[in-house]
C-alpha cells in the first residue's frame, strides 16, 4: 500500500493533545500537532493551582511544552484548523488551514517591544475579558510559542489606515502585514482528536456584575492574570463573602460534569488563602467527589470553614446593588443570602466547532455533542484510525485526560500491528458502562 503512512495528526494542543503527541513522538512517530489558538497548552494554563496537590499548573505543564517545542518529531502548527479529511485509516489526506499570524515565528524573539506602540486596545479573551490587550498580543505572560499574533480584524490596517506602529517597533523584521492564510496538505495514518471543552452557558443567569464563571475566577487567582492573583470584584473591592454555586446548568444539560465539586472546593481554598476573614457559602445538591484523593481535598476546604448549604435546586441569582442576591429552597423553606461575589460551576461541553469537526472526520457524537467512543474502547472513535483524547468525549479530571491521551497513543501505535492482535476498530465488545467494581 504505497500511500500508507505512520505519521499522525493530533488536533488540539491542550493537555490531551500535548500528552498524546509526546508519547507518539517518543515512539518515533512524526506528529503534526495543530492548534486553533495562537498559543498552546489549552485550558490548563488558565489555572493557578490544580487538583489534587494544588500544584502550580504552569510549573507542571511548562516542561511538557518545551518537550513539544524541542522534540524533532513534533511539528506544532498554531492558528491552524482542519479543513478537510479524506481517505481511510493508514492513509488519510488532510487539508489544514493555517491562519495568518502576521508575525514570523522564525524572526520573533519575544521581546514584546511591539505591544506598547499599538494604538488598538481590545478585551483579552484569554483573561475572560477581565483585562485589555493590544491588537498585537500574546494571550498571557509565558504563553508559548513565545511570539505574538495580530488580530487583523482589530488592526487599524484592516480599516484602511496605514498604521505600521508594531512593525516600526520590531528590530527583527518579524512583522509581516502581507502574511496570508495558507492551506496545506498532510498525509497521516491516524488522527487523534483532542479538541477539549468549554464552559456551557446553559442554565446560567444573564451577565451580572459580580457573578463569575469558573474560568473567570481562575484568572482572578492567577499570578499572571489580570489582578496578579488578587481576588477582587469588578469594582476592585476585596469581597467579604463569596458564594460557590454547584451544578449550574446540570439540569439543562442532563449530566454531571464531575470535576466541579472538586474545583469549587479548590476555589474555597483560593478564597481563604487570598481573602482574610472571608465567608464562603457553597450551594450544593449532591456532593460528587469520586476518587481516592478527592474526599480529603473536600474536607480540607470544609475545615477552613466553608458553609455548605444543601439546596433543593440550583439557587436563583440576582443583582443586589454591587452585591449578589441568592434565593434557594433548603429543608423545605425558601431562604436567601447576600454575598459580594458569586462563582458558578457551569456545565462542561465540547469545544466550539465539535459538531462540524465530527462531520468532517465522519465520527459519531452522543446525545450531548461529545464524541462517542467505540464500545468499551476508552480512546477510540467510531471510525477506524481516529482516536479521542480529553474532554471532547465527556467531562474528565486532568489525570483521566492524560490517561485517555496515552491510551489514544497506544491505539495509534497498535494500528499497524493488525498482524497479531485484533486492531482497535474491532476491539469493541459492548460492556455495560461501569460494570463491575474494577
Amino acid at each position: 500500500m504505497a500511500d500508507q503512512t505512520t505519521d499522525v495528526l493530533v488536533i488540539g494542543a491542550g493537555l490531551a493533545g500535548v500528552e498524546a503527541s509526546l508519547v507518539l513522538a517518543n515512539a518515533g512517530r512524526k506528529v503534526y500537532l495543530v492548534e486553533r489558538q495562537a498559543y498552546f497548552g489549552g485550558n490548563v494554563i488558565k489555572s493557578e493551582e490544580v487538583f489534587p496537590n494544588l500544584e502550580c499548573a504552569t510549573c507542571m505543564i511548562a516542561p511538557k511544552q518545551s518537550d513539544v517545542i524541542e522534540n524533532q518529531n513534533v511539528e506544532l502548527l498554531t492558528l491552524t484548523e482542519v479543513k478537510d479529511v479524506r481517505g481511510e485509516a493508514g492513509a488519510f489526506g488532510v487539508t489544514l488551514l493555517r491562519r495568518a499570524r502576521y508575525v514570523s515565528l522564525e524572526n520573533c524573539i519575544g521581546c514584546a517591544a511591539c505591544f506598547e506602540p499599538c494604538p488598538v486596545t481590545a478585551a483579552n479573551e484569554f483573561e475572560e475579558g477581565l483585562s485589555q490587550r493590544k491588537a498585537i498580543y500574546v494571550a498571557c505572560a509565558g504563553a508559548l510559542p513565545n511570539a505574538p499574533a495580530i488580530a487583523m480584524g482589530e488592526c487599524l490596517r484592516s480599516k484602511g489606515e496605514e498604521c505600521t506602529a508594531c512593525r516600526d517597533a520590531c528590530m527583527f523584521d518579524a512583522i509581516n502585514y502581507e502574511d496570508k492564510d495558507e492551506e496545506r496538505e498532510v498525509k497521516v495514518g491516524a488522527i487523534v482528536v483532542a479538541t477539549g471543552y468549554r464552559l456551557s452557558g446553559a442554565g446560567l443567569p444573564d451577565r451580572l456584575e459580580n457573578v463569575y464563571n469558573a474560568f473567570e475566577f481562575e484568572r482572578l487567582r492567577a499570578s499572571n492574570g489580570p489582578t496578579e492573583g488578587e481576588i477582587r470584584t469588578r469594582d476592585g473591592k476585596k469581597p467579604k463573602s463569596v458564594a460557590l454555586i454547584h451544578c449550574a446548568g446540570r439540569r439543562e444539560k442532563g449530566y454531571c460534569s464531575q470535576v466541579c465539586c472538586r474545583y469549587l472546593a479548590k476555589f474555597a481554598r483560593y478564597a481563604f488563602d487570598k481573602l482574610e476573614g472571608v465567608e464562603v457559602h457553597e450551594f450544593i445538591q449532591e456532593v460528587s467527589v469520586p476518587g481516592k484523593d478527592s474526599q480529603r481535598f473536600l474536607e480540607t476546604a470544609l475545615e477552613k470553614g466553608v458553609k455548605l448549604v444543601r439546596t433543593k435546586a440550583v439557587p436563583g441569582i440576582s443583582a443586589n446593588g454591587s452585591g449578589v442576591r441568592i434565593e434557594f429552597q433548603a429543608n423545605g423553606k425558601s431562604e436567601s443570602d447576600e454575598v459580594d461575589m458569586a462563582v458558578l460551576a457551569p456545565a462542561i461541553e465540547p469545544g466550539s466547532g465539535a459538531a462540524a469537526l465530527a462531520e468532517l472526520l465522519g465520527i459519531e457524537t452522543d446525545g450531548f455533542g461529545f464524541f462517542r467512543t467505540a464500545g468499551s474502547e476508552p480512546a477510540t472513535a467510531t471510525r477506524p484510525g481516529v482516536f479521542i483524547a480529553g474532554c471532547n468525549s465527556g467531562p474528565k479530571d486532568m489525570q483521566t485526560v492524560v490517561i485517555q491521551a496515552e491510551a489514544a497513543a497506544a491505539g495509534v501505535l497498535k494500528m499497524n500491528h493488525k498482524d497479531t492482535e485484533t486492531g482497535p476498530g474491532e476491539e469493541t465488545q459492548e460492556r455495560p458502562a461501569g460494570s463491575g467494581d474494577g
Binding site: 502550580c56 511548562a62 514584546a112 509565558g142 499570578s223 492573583g229
Partner: protein
C-alpha cells in the same frame, strides 16, 4: 536600595520553578535587583549548605535559595530535603550568631514572576540594611 552600599547577593534557583519565575519577571520587565546574581541548579536539593557557607566566607552579603513550593517539587521531595539542610545550617549560624539573617530560603513557583521580583527586591534592601558582610574586610578568617 538604601545608602551607597551595594550588596552582592548570590542566589541559587531551581530550574523548574524559581528560575522560570525569574525569567518571567524579566520578560514582564519587572525589576530584579542588580545586587542579585543567580546560579541555576536542577533542584533546590542540589544546594549543598557548605556552598552557602563558602559564599558567606567569600564575602556574599546575602545568600538566597529558591525552589518549588512544598509539594510541587519536580523531583518528588527534593525541596523537603533542601529545607531540612537549610534549617540545619541556619541553626548553626544562629547559635554562633554568624549573620543568620543574611540567608534566605524562598518557595517561588514558575508563575510567580511578580513575587520573584518582590522577594528579591525585599531581600536586597533587607541586606542593604544589614550593611556589608563583615568578612569582606577580615583577611584573617577564611
Amino acid at each position: 536600595m538604601a545608602g551607597s552600599f551595594e550588596p552582592n547577593i548570590v542566589g541559587f534557583l531551581c530550574n523548574w520553578c524559581s528560575y522560570a519565575a525569574a525569567d518571567q519577571a524579566g520578560s514582564n520587565k519587572l525589576e530584579i535587583p542588580a545586587t542579585l546574581t543567580t546560579i541555576r541548579v536542577m533542584c533546590s536539593s542540589r544546594v549543598n549548605p557548605v556552598l552557602l557557607v563558602a559564599a558567606y566566607l567569600r564575602g556574599a552579603d546575602g545568600v538566597l535559595v529558591a525552589g518549588c513550593h512544598p509539594g510541587d517539587c519536580h523531583y518528588q521531595t527534593g525541596n523537603y530535603n533542601a529545607r531540612r539542610r537549610f534549617a540545619l545550617l541556619r541553626g548553626i549560624l544562629d547559635v554562633l550568631e554568624l549573620d543568620p539573617a543574611r540567608f534566605r530560603l524562598s518557595w517561588i513557583s514558575a508563575s510567580e514572576g511578580k513575587r520573584y521580583s518582590e522577594v528579591t527586591k525585599e531581600f536586597s534592601s533587607h541586606i542593604a540594611g544589614l550593611g556589608p558582610n563583615p568578612l569582606r574586610t577580615r583577611p584573617f578568617i577564611e
